[in-house]
């Protein structure tokens, strides 16, 4: 087991190294005059631009800059933003809860709504409920996130006025931060008003972001349940007189859930990228919107740091998942 972990960790090194080279070349090939001009603005004198370039070593040969960057990474130093001077790692962890909370809420929505719908569709295959669910999910999967986000805003915030359209919480609300997850913080500190406020603000973005995963989950659940319903053991269970609900719970859903859980896992990555768009439409200040600003400001350290950090997170999560997998399913043990 330990050897497996070590081998996986060792494998991360070339991956991250390769990524860091690609990233380094990419951020430096962004058009424009680089971060100094973005930082100082059009009024800056060439001398000031030069001073900043000198200070950050942007005038050095690329290879030298790259090696210096890798050196600082190896020391665990992700540098600081050129724009606001804040350590890249600090802002990353400050903003991560915003993006993760949004993604989790979207996923929750997709799962809680998607699995029952998929089940119903499979049960009534070929009949009206099935047709409705299948065409609905086709529409869901075909609707771009930002379009749906704008549409939801228009209907539920502007026309009906039921839900807020912008921000994570009402500006100026008295809310204590503990973990950075607005809903969780509200519960932990017993500021239930703040928690409820955060839930209301999460609803539209979560639905917008969760609709594509929802549609996919519906379709996979439907297919999977339909397949399981044909199995002999289901027929046996039904013919021995078990109640339909029991059959559904014990025999159908449990077995049908395996491909569904694959799908859910695959959606995590998609949710993160969709979150960038959703954050922009709803003015959530998460990782996505900060990264977006960093691109337009040519904030090299932020771009490099954020993307590498996301990659490290993903690699680690994958590793943890592989390990947990062995723990949960005894038939698949790590063999090294």
């Amino acid at each position: 087991m330990i050897r497996f972990v070590l081998r996986r960790l060792a494998l991360m090194v070339p991956v991250l190294l390769g990524l860091s080279i690609l990233l380094f070349i990419w951020v430096r090939s962004l058009p424009g005059e680089g971060p100094a001009r973005s930082l100082l603005g059009t009024r800056a004198t060439p001398e000031r631009i030069e001073a900043i370039n000198e200070q950050y070593g942007f005038n050095d040969p690329l290879l030298e800059q790259y090696l210096r960057y890798v050196g600082s990474l190896l020391r665990g130093d992700f540098l600081s933003s050129i724009r606001d001077g804040k350590p890249v790692l600090d802002t990353f962890f400050d903003k991560l809860p915003v993006t993760v909370e949004l993604s989790l809420a979207a996923l929750l929505f997709a799962i809680v709504v998607g699995i029952p719908l998929g089940y119903v569709a499979a049960r009534y295959q070929g009949r009206a409920p099935d047709t409705a669910v299948v065409s609905g999910s086709l529409l869901g999967v075909a609707t771009p996130v930002f379009f749906l986000a704008l549409l939801l805003k228009l209907v539920f915030a502007n026309w009906l006025g039921w839900l807020p359209a912008t921000f994570r919480q009402t500006p100026g609300i008295d809310a204590t931060q503990v973990t950075g997850f607005a809903v969780l913080d509200g519960l932990l500190t017993r500021e239930y008003d703040a928690a409820w406020d955060a839930v209301l603000h999460l609803l539209l973005p979560a639905i917008a972001l969760g609709t594509i995963p929802l549609a996919i989950i519906v379709r996979i659940t439907r297919a999977s349940v339909a397949e399981v319903l044909q199995e002999d053991y289901v027929r046996t269970a039904e013919s021995k007189g078990l109640r339909r609900r029991t059959v559904a719970r014990r025999h159908v859903l449990r077995n049908a859930m395996l491909p569904v859980s694959t799908t859910i896992g695959l959606q995590v990555g998609l949710l993160f990228s969709g979150a960038v768009l959703t954050e922009t439409v709803f003015s959530f200040q998460g990782i996505g919107s900060y990264l977006f600003q960093a691109i337009s400001q040519r904030d090299y350290p932020v771009l490099q740091g954020y993307i590498i950090f996301i990659a490290i997170m993903y690699s680690l999560i994958n590793l943890v998942v592989d390990l947990l997998y062995g723990v949960i399913d005894p038939r698949v043990r790590v063999s090294t």
Binding site: T42, T166, T262, Y290, V320, D329, V332
Partner: protein
């Protein structure tokens, strides 16, 4: 059934991700406490919050180091200068100085200070504090003497005590008397009083500055003081700034003037104009700036209040004379004759927009009603192009995307209509669109790599030099021409001590400019603000000198 180990693995990724993230974030603990609420004591207070959206976050809270509208917006609530503006106009008016007097030679300004004013930290506002501020600006360390940090001081006071520009500095000294501060200049500056109405020259608490500000810091915009502890004399006190969320200001109950009516003013940033409109409709905010022309009629129809700022700006089509055939005056005249301003205004600019005949609006001294104008005459345009041998010439047309400025609410629409008009007289247009910040501005103002282009300017204060001097005072990459005669006249005008004496020269300059035609002034568009129906007491100002102490919000 074959067991595939991918499903479980991927499903678990979610749980693991959440766990990892939660663990990583548990240590992140920021102070998210909102305001104190403040109760409802204080003169005429109605309480509650006033939530206002701008288009970006403030860059700094020390206005001396700011030159952007969003920093100034917040600064205007916290700080005040010796001189303010008459509400709703760009004209200077007494503020912290109750009276001011100028010597005949324009070199000595005597300010009689308002009595009984204290800074929000309890420090007395007196002549010593005034001179402390003037001397602080003048004695900026070399590291801060750069246009990106101290643009307005550098541009208006022309130099610092030390450094390359010291020889040009117009400030000489400040003498503190009993309730009177006397500022001596080395050379006259007719726009001095108007310039002092800029938030950059606000009076800041000497105690707080000495305690928390370090002008010599690597980035003086991000010190303890300028990132989170500014102290002025204004109707609101700085409470907190959470980047990405909001700036919270609370009512200053000890304010010398009319105490603010709301408990707190909360400033948020929403960069997209449509998203700002949506936020207003959804009740997330009480008001916002820079209303997109497309939203104006709709919002008004839905019962929202639209406040128009008197236009104090100019939108123009600039020519880069480094690009042929724009160096030929006949081609520039042809372009001017090809433009149908009525159509440009009616199709791409908000209602109330005034067509421009020159590069300043009519309320600015030196406006010349008799300047040379170029009527819409496509036939004449074709003839001029023919004479210049430029019929069918390809001209690069630069315009910005994804931005709305007060003087240019919808650049794409303006580009489209102009482009059609220019093509109609036989010019080939090569459109080049760039993102506004930093690409577009950088390209237009910093390089010669552009042709004709859309740009404009909102005046900072009522001074002619703040318009024409900014555009045509020196050789600049934006325009690509060297016209020593024009540069000389502008320099001369700037040295004249009074506005009255300056006016004839500026009238002449405006005529010279329109004959030389470095660009076509298009319009003075009306910038608009939008408010929820329950918001009252907001006075729009042409120079955005909008202080929120009279604002009430129906809760």
């Amino acid at each position: 059934m074959r067991l595939n180990h991918r499903p479980l693995r991927s499903g678990l990724a979610l749980v693991a991700a959440a766990t990892l993230v939660l663990a990583g974030c548990a240590s992140s603990d920021r102070d998210g406490e909102g305001g104190s609420g403040g109760g409802s004591e204080g003169g005429g207070a109605t309480g509650g919050d006033f939530v206002f959206a701008g288009s970006a976050e403030p860059v700094t809270f020390d206005p001396f180091f700011a030159s952007d509208g969003e920093s100034f917006r917040v600064a205007r609530q916290i700080f005040e200068g010796l001189v303010g503006t008459e509400p709703g106009t760009a004209d200077p008016a007494p503020l912290l100085a109750e009276e001011y007097d100028v010597s005949d030679d324009g070199l000595t300004y005597t300010f009689t200070l308002r009595d009984g004013v204290t800074f929000q930290d309890g420090t007395d506002f007196d002549a010593e504090a005034v001179c402390f501020n003037f001397d602080r600006w003048y004695n900026m360390p070399a590291s801060a003497q750069s246009p990106d940090l101290t643009y307005y001081y550098g541009a208006l006071f022309r130099g610092f005590a030390t450094g390359e520009t010291s020889g040009d500095a117009i400030y000489e000294s400040c003498e503190a008397g009993d309730g009177v501060a006397t500022v001596n200049l080395k050379s006259p500056f007719a726009g001095f009083l108007s310039a002092l109405s800029l938030p950059a020259f606000s009076m800041q608490s000497p105690t707080a500055l000495q305690k928390d500000q370090d002008d010599a810091a690597e980035n003086p915009r991000q010190t303890t003081y300028s990132a989170g502890a500014p102290v002025g004399t204004g109707p609101f006190t700085f409470e907190s700034f959470t980047p990405g969320e909001n700036v919270t200001l609370v009512r200053n109950d000890d304010y010398w003037g009319d105490v603010a009516k709301v408990d707190r003013a909360i400033v948020v940033a929403i960069d997209d104009p449509t998203a700002r409109a949506d936020a207003l409709r959804a009740g997330d905010i009480d008001g916002y700036d820079l209303v997109g022309p497309a939203d104006l009629t709709a919002l008004e129809g839905e019962g929202f209040t639209i406040e128009n700022r008197p236009a104090f700006n100019v939108l123009y089509l600039g020519f880069n004379q480094k690009q042929k055939p724009l160096d030929d005056i006949r081609v520039r005249q042809a372009i001017a004759h090809a433009i149908n301003l009525d159509e440009v205004v009616s199709t791409s600019l908000p209602e109330g927009t005034v067509k421009a005949t020159q590069f300043i609006p009519d309320v600015v001294a030196g406006y010349n009603p008799d300047v040379t104008t170029y009527e819409y005459d496509p036939e004449r345009a074709r003839q001029l192009l023919d004479e210049a041998g430029a019929t069918g010439a390809t001209i690069e047309f630069n315009y910005p995307t994804g931005v709305s400025r007060p003087y240019m609410p919808d650049p794409e629409a303006t580009f489209n209509i102009l482009s059609t008009q220019l093509q109609a007289v036989g010019l080939e247009i090569k459109p080049t669109a760039d993102q506004w910040d930093p690409d577009y501005l950088e390209k237009i103002q910093g390089t010669s790599d552009h042709g004709i282009h859309l740009l404009g300017w909102t005046g900072d204060y009522n001074d002619t030099d703040n318009f024409v001097g900014v555009f045509f005072g020196t050789e600049q990459p934006e325009w690509g021409f060297d016209n020593p005669e024009l540069f000389g006249k502008l320099r001369e005008a700037r040295q004249i001590p009074t506005v009255e004496e300056q006016t004839p020269l500026y009238e002449e300059i405006n005529e010279d400019v329109m004959e030389f035609l470095p660009g076509v002034p298009l319009a003075h568009p009306v910038p608009s603000l939008a408010f929820a129906p329950g918001v009252e007491g907001y006075t729009a100002s042409p120079v955005q000198d909008e202080v929120w102490n009279a604002v009430t919000v129906e809760q």
